[in-house]
Amino acid sequence: MGEVRASFFWVISSLAVPLTLAGQNAPANQYVGGEVCRKCHPNVWLNFYKNPHYKSVASGTEAPDKTGCEGCHGPGQAHVQASGGKATIRAFSVMEPKQVIDACLACHSRDLSKANIRRSSHTLAGVACSDCHSIHRSPIPKFLLAKEQRDVCYGCHAPVRSQFSMPFKHRVNEGFMQCTDCHNPHGAPAATWRMGARPRMVEHALANEEPCLKCHSDKRGPFVFEHPSVRVDGCETCHNPHGSTNAKLLRRPVVFTVCLECHNGAGAFGRQGDGIRTQSASHNMADPRYQNCTACHVRIHGSNADPLFLR
């Protein structure tokens, strides 16, 4: 009972405190308005009408703490009186990652894509909004990224850059795709494939499926005969999604080892818990005819007509 009471107190206090604090906000006269900022920061102001954040200025109806320079940087009076300085204003270049995220979420929390930002791998690793976005000097008007999206990501994920330089790859470097087609850099919910714990930053497709199915819709089904590996552990059971030295982004250079490493009949695996069934005795692996599994099992992602994916 004591625990219940404590929880109740916690909920009430967490709801009440922000309301109390809201009433203690800095007085409005500490906001000096964007025109004052313009005098010392003309270069920032000159092109600010092209910035997506300018629409709050244009609307003319926003409260001072939600518009213009002071909407992000906080009240500017002390900064003006001190003739500048990062200590007298909210300067993102010296703020802690959590403070940066808090400041941006003050407006951007309504975006669905940021629902998991507090638990994302980026946030855990201390990566904040301003590490990828450049509000005043972005060459990319949409989303205000500091660089082209792939270059932002490659800056920290060098092995991924290597994977996209391989002979078989998704066309990210060619401009056809972007990292955010499959990933949510602001954090994603638990994966609905594999065991949920990993991967952590993969954006879900329509019905919380793997994002591969957004483009490869012919693999989506539903099929009468589903290949369980596609649904249970996901496409990466057989494929390396970024890039590979192997054809079809496969994990192995030939297809029969991809298949046989699961279809070995061993242990407690598979639907019935008696192993993933082995190939039938009619398959003679010494005969090249049987070494190209997908020559016969052409509908390996799922079939409506054949339980062995033959048609």
Binding site: L124, R161, T192, S217, D233, V254, G273, Y290, N292, A295
Partner: protein, 655 residues
């Protein structure tokens, strides 16, 4: 003099660029744009001619690179902004394109918005996909298709507390393909042509509202998919190189997936909460009709028709709740609980009319259900200005149920199964900020699953991740090391996987006219998995499938300007898999069939140097030329190696 020597060395050295040589990364026109009435306009268009010359395997080149000859709109950018945020019809237009004309990868992005009234986004893409009958299926599968994708999103009243959202997505794939069909007996495959015709349309309608400090997002969607790919016998092969004298297959496959998505979110200084719910019910109806006449491999004349009809259904329910608490400014605790339930079921009637076996109808019913619940708790604590700690505990449980049922000549056979899997894993990390610009983070993760579904699934795994990042105004350097080990052993079978990645990456921009960036990665993977297979009807067990890959990848790029007149960019990208070091693919062949030994490793190299020159002819006009070489080499067999010379010349102009 020293500077000149440095520039020359920088341009000739092992230079970088994993990217393609086009479009030219240069700007033309007035740097602040042109004023037209109440609008500011910036634009640039790059038009030019591309060429290519390929020696070796052209098909493999088309699979990897695929740039061709011809005139292109290599790239364009247009921005129009109202100067006071009160334009008459719009306040912003942002348009960018790449490769329009005939490039294999084309892209166009458009945003038009009027502040407070609407925001429209369009993304259009085209990919020319070519599969040159790679030897995965005996070289018998070939595809030459185009995939076109477009996404339209319209938000009405985007800045108001109540917003209306509309969307449309279209994804189509069409083109020629060569595939295979198993003919009259097991192991006999014959090529057949397919005219691929697939299309997916999705329509979305929804809204967002802010009520009592909470944000509600509700969207209803309708997804339609249809495939009408006909299959026919390759011309001229009837009765000669094919066992078929006639062959025909049609399998129309149509269906819809209506769905709901609801999202609720709220946040204040001490907590944040988000709930998300999705429900989708997919259904696909199909008819399969295949008729084949010919001769089997024993010389008997065969006449077979296969008719299958039925439908597949997949209702998916998923939801999650994320609760974050901020007891202090330095501590964040997040808990995430996710639920996912998929029920895949389908039934079909299979009827085969066969002059050899005259089999009756088969009635199939298949069910596969996956229900998973995941609970994760993450915490991050900033102990001091230079020290941060983070960690998490993850627990998930999954139930997989299946029913495989078949009824042959009225006699049903039913095989139900059910199993539960659990995973527990933990993550612990430390983050150090020795200075504002230097960050070091180290973390380790351990996971234990009690009953993985597949022999290669994660069972006992652990990973270690270290990262160092230094960033100043003109210089950035990062290095990382990451290991990921997994073992999944049961009686009579074992699987182990060991991955180790090391990388270093940096960029340096000391001057406006000079920048250099480069990186190196070593990606190691070795796996050993138990396998079982048959040779001459004898089951071979206790063997292992081994795979070793050692990939060295490097890239370096240098850009420098020659006064205000010209820009030069040179780059080099190198990927090389040295395999396990062997020089002969069959080294180690013993009693096993040969294919398992050469499949253990696949050394190759893929190199691509490039250079680009851009000369300013006028304030609004630049002339560009570039060259990119591709060299792909397989060490063991080399049947697919190629060298390609590609390049372009273009003008980049603004008006």
């Amino acid at each position: 003099m020293r500077r000149t020597v440095f520039l020359i060395l920088a341009s000739l050295g092992p230079l970088a660029g994993q990217q393609t040589v086009t479009p030219t990364a240069a700007t033309v026109g007035p740097p602040r744009g042109t004023e037209i009435g109440n609008y500011n306009v910036m634009n640039s268009f790059e038009t030019g001619y591309r060429f290519r010359s390929v020696g070796g395997d052209l098909g493999k080149y088309r699979s990897d690179v695929n740039f061709g000859n011809g005139i292109r709109l290599l790239g364009s950018r247009l921005t129009v902004n109202s100067k006071d945020g009160h334009g008459s019809l719009f306040d912003e237009i942002v348009l960018s394109t790449q490769g329009l004309g005939n490039d294999p990868y084309q892209f166009s992005s458009l945003r038009i918005q009027k502040n407070g009234l609407y925001r429209y986004d369009l993304l259009w893409r085209l990919s020319d996909y070519f599969n040159p009958a790679l030897p995965l299926a005996g070289g018998l599968h070939r595809m030459d298709t185009e995939r076109r994708m477009q996404d339209h999103d319209l938000a009405l009243l985007p800045q108001s507390p109540v917003r209306l959202l509309l969307g449309y997505t279209r994804n189509s794939q069409d083109g020629a393909a060569l595939t295979t069909v198993q003919s009259f007996s097991a192991g006999d495959v014959s090529p057949v042509f397919a005219d691929i015709r697939r299309i997916r349309n999705e329509y979305r309608l929804g809204g967002e509202a802010e009520l009592f400090g909470m944000k509600l997002h509700v969207v209803r969607g309708w997804d339609d998919f249809k495939e009408d790919t006909p299959f026919t016998l390759a011309p001229g092969t009837a009765g000669t190189s094919s066992p078929f004298t006639t062959f025909r297959r049609n399998e129309p496959y149509h269906g819809t997936t209506p769905w709901w998505r609801v999202h609720l979110r709220g946040e204040n200084k001490y907590w944040a909460a988000a709930g998300h719910f999705t429900y989708a019910i997919g259904r696909r109806d199909f008819i399969f009709d295949e008729a084949a006449v010919g001769t089997d491999r024993f010389g008997s004349e065969r006449n077979r028709q296969v008719l299958v009809a039925g439908d597949g259904r997949r209702p998916v329910t998923s939801g999650n709740v994320t609760l974050s608490f901020f007891p202090t400014d330095n501590l964040t605790i997040s808990n995430h609980t996710a639920f996912h339930n998929t029920r895949m079921e389908g039934d079909s009637v299979y009827r085969e009319l066969n002059n050899a076996t005259a089999s009756g109808p088969y009635l199939f019913f298949n069910f596969l259900g996956i229900r998973s619940i995941t609970n994760t708790t993450d915490a991050t604590l900033r102990v001091s200005k230079w020290l941060g700690l983070y960690g998490g505990y993850y627990y998930s449980t999954r139930r997989i149920r299946s029913v495989e049922q078949v009824e042959i000549d009225g006699v049903p056979q039913r095989l139900p199964a059910s199993q539960d899997n659990r995973l527990q894993s933990g993550l612990a990390g430390i983050r150090l900020n020795f200075a504002r610009s230097l960050t070091v983070s180290l973390d380790a993760e351990v996971g234990r699953a009690d009953r993985p579904f597949f022999p290669i699934s994660e069972r006992d795994y652990h990973g270690f991740n270290a990262r160092v990042r230094y960033k100043s105004k003109s210089f950035a350097l990062s290095a990382s090391a990451r290991t990921n080990y997994n073992t999944n052993s049961v009686s009579l079978s074992s699987h182990s996987s060991r991955g180790r990645n090391y990388s270093v990456d940096g960029s340096w921009t000391p001057r406006d006219w000079f920048s250099v960036d480069g990186g190196y990665s070593k990606l190691h993977l070795d796996t050993a998995s138990g396998i079982a297979y048959f040779v001459d009807f004898e089951l071979i067990q206790g063997e292992r499938s081994i795979y070793v890959s050692n990939i060295h990848a490097a890239n370096l790029g240098v850009r420098f300007g020659l006064g205000k007149r010209a820009d030069v960019y040179t780059g080099y990208s190198h990927v090389e898999d040295t395999g396990d070091g062997r020089v002969n693919p069959f080294i180690g062949s013993g009693a096993r069939p040969d294919p398992f030994v050469p499949a253990q490793t696949f050394p190759l190299a893929f190199r691509s140097p490039l250079a680009r020159l851009s000369v300013r002819l006028h304030g609004n006009l630049r002339w560009n030329a570039g060259y990119q070489h591709y060299n792909y080499r397989e060490d063991f067999f080399g049947r697919q190696s190629y060298r390609a010379h590609t390049g372009y010349t273009s003008v980049l102009w603004s008006f």
